[in-house]
Symmetry: C2
Subunit: 408 residues, 2 copies
């Protein structure tokens, strides 16, 4: 008999969910970008929704003047005065909620995970129009639930697929529909008529409506209708918000879960208590942001609108590139004349240089769960200033000409 | 045919896990404490591990001088320089790790959840000596895993139960053992011999060892041995750390998951990427804390040691009260001469006043999963200064005399 202890010690395996969990398409190429930067190459980050717009100084000032002797836990629901101010912000936007309908979360990310935990059991299903924000897969995997995709197409500008196609996917395990409005990654803004169709469907089929409204302040052709204003389904709507994008404060990790459904609030509160509280300093910063005048959003919106035009204009002039002109958020999905955008995006970082620079994009496949879809699409975030966008587009234009596996 | 839409709309149900999720025993009486405070009553909070010790000023100073134009996401693994400094901190404590073995998490809470997600699948079991930190139940429920308790008793000072009793509980679904050392809520510090027994068991039975070492700097009769120094099981140990208690910075929500198991690091990294990054400002604060000299811990340890003596001394003089003298963390479990500590702790907040003050304690039952256990125990956190502890103990002493359902 042989003893093989060291090998035996190596045998312990990780979980199936740990193994199956996908890498973030937005971050999985980060090591290649780091390597390029180490060589002194400039990398234009259009892969991630990390805006270069300055965080309002009022936020950091609030932290500097907080004068805390002890950096204490806050209430698990979030700082009370902060929740009250956030309720007022929603009311001014025509959304009738009180602070009791609001729980502060650690980014929109935690809000989504808590919504899944509180409303769905392992094995339950939600229907999500694809392409969708890739991290939903991670939260679904963590919660043990299944995402059933309904494909929207780049050719139709990623409009809501017909309601009949939702109905076809509904099983006895379907518990909700999940939308992101304005949409990440497509930039599509759902029309009032589309939202009313979804409302009727969730009412008819006894479903929840989960709505990620992270980009609600970034709509360039009119206001976005919040799902919280849909009538007759008040206790079916769980809205997820975040301070990351609105105030260019992604590192704050402050979001909110908002719902009129008291049972959901109570259940989420128990998950909130288990993790004790959201970060204290960032809550102070976020509360201060709510004192900004609405002109703050007018300015940032105008800035993004301009960037969008620059980006779309440049993309549409590139041979073989197709992209719709989305009306919200700060993302564009574009179809590129390449064999496979996973390979292409990696090649951009490892092999391509133009004026000692290159561009980082998020491969499209990670935003779809239907196999084979999105393989010639990329997501571009217009989070850099106009000059940087031009320079990044110069890189992309040259890269598409130089790429050995270009397709017509 | 009647239409009953409003009632139909009320029918949507929350998840089973949302319904079954227990409320935190540490926080569930918060509403009663708030009501007492509104009446102008002073409430001594011995229910929660929220120290009154000042957060080191170096932490807030680092945030004030960070001079960030944009509050950006950090790397999902945490700020690189911070991870490197944290590795150095462990090395000075005799723990041989590199920054690549460390992922920064949103508090110890997230570290535990991520460890469960990466190592265990839904339905898997872990064995945990009880009483244990109540929020483990919440993380286990979120991860869909089962906690199998092994009872340690107050009479034996909550020492590790015999290894034979662990073996009896092992099934084909058992994937790990979870300890907290020094222990919350008991204050017990595992001896080297106990840790070696656990090591041999996890090796023999092919298990993970999850170790919550939040209180490692608070050991009053000698150093604590980290599970990361156990030889022959390097890739089975997942250590969870936090900055909350060490630096009296609970609101920072900064912790770490540390393991030499590369597959676990890779899997946890995918869950980390899904939630983007830990809070930026608090990481800056935590990194600064690592510059403190070791004398910082000597001072705080001396302060807690004194508080422990005051608390134990007062409790041991109360008729019918029994508590062991624990050698670590800043908690004591005590047996009280009352019918039920859930009722008693609520009564303290709603009915009892002494010099217009009362004391808040955490009922013991929430720290056990075996039904019926801990019902005459409470957890007390000695996180207040000596004077406040004396005043809180005056309240408890009087309350035990006045309580109508006192048992002999």
């Amino acid at each position: 008999m042989m003893q093989c202890l060291p090998i035996f010690a190596e045998m312990i395996t990780i979980s199936q969910r740990g193994a199956q969990m996908p890498s973030s398409p937005i971050r999985k190429l980060a090591a290649f970008a780091d390597a390029a930067k180490k060589e002194g190459v400039k990398v234009y980050h259009l892969n991630i929704g990390q805006p270069d717009i300055e965080t309002p100084s009022i936020m950091m000032e609030a932290v500097k003047h907080a004068d805390l002797k002890v950096l204490e836990y806050t209430d698990s629901a979030g700082i009370l005065s902060f929740r009250k101010k956030l309720a007022t912000y929603y009311v001014t936007k025509g959304i009738d909620v009180s602070y009791e309908d609001i729980l502060i979360t650690i980014g929109g990310s935690e809000g989504i995970l808590f919504a899944f935990m509180a409303c769905l059991d392992a094995g339950d299903e939600i229907i999500v129009p694809e392409p969708f924000y890739a991290n939903y897969i991670g939260f679904a995997m963590a919660a043990g639930i299944k995402i059933i995709p309904i494909t929207s197409s780049i050719e139709s500008g990623f409009a809501l697929p017909p309601i009949a196609s939702f109905k076809e996917k509904i099983t006895h395990r379907t518990k909700g529909i999940f939308i992101c409005n304005p949409n990440n990654p497509t930039g599509y803004v759902y029309s009032e008529s589309e939202l009313l169709q979804i409302r009727d469907l969730i009412k008819e089929k006894d479903l929840y409506l989960f709505s990620d409204e992270a980009y609600t302040e970034f709509s360039y052709e009119g206001k976005v209708k919040s799902t919280l204003t849909l009538t007759g389904v008040e206790d079916r709507v769980i809205m997820i918000d975040t301070f990351s994008k609105k105030y260019s404060a992604c590192g704050a990790r402050i979001g909110a879960l908002v719902t009129k459904n008291k049972s959901v609030i109570e259940a989420v509160m128990k998950f909130s208590q288990a993790r004790l509280s959201p970060p204290t300093l960032e809550q102070i910063a976020a509360e201060a942001a709510l004192s900004l005048p609405t002109s703050y959003f007018d300015e940032t919106r105008a800035e993004y609108k301009n960037r969008r035009e620059v980006l779309i204009n440049r993309l549409s002039k590139m041979e073989g590139v197709f992209c719709p002109a989305p009306s919200g958020a700060f993302y564009v999905m574009a179809k590129l004349p390449v064999d496979n955008t996973d390979t292409f995006c990696q090649w951009l970082l490892t092999n391509f240089r133009y004026k000692n620079a290159t561009v980082m994009l998020a491969p499209g496949s990670g935003f779809y769960t239907t196999p084979g879809l999105g393989t010639n699409e990329v997501r571009l975030a217009y989070v850099l200033n106009e000059t940087a966008i031009h320079e990044a587009m110069d890189c992309l234009e040259q890269a598409l000409k130089a790429y050995p596996n270009r397709q017509v």
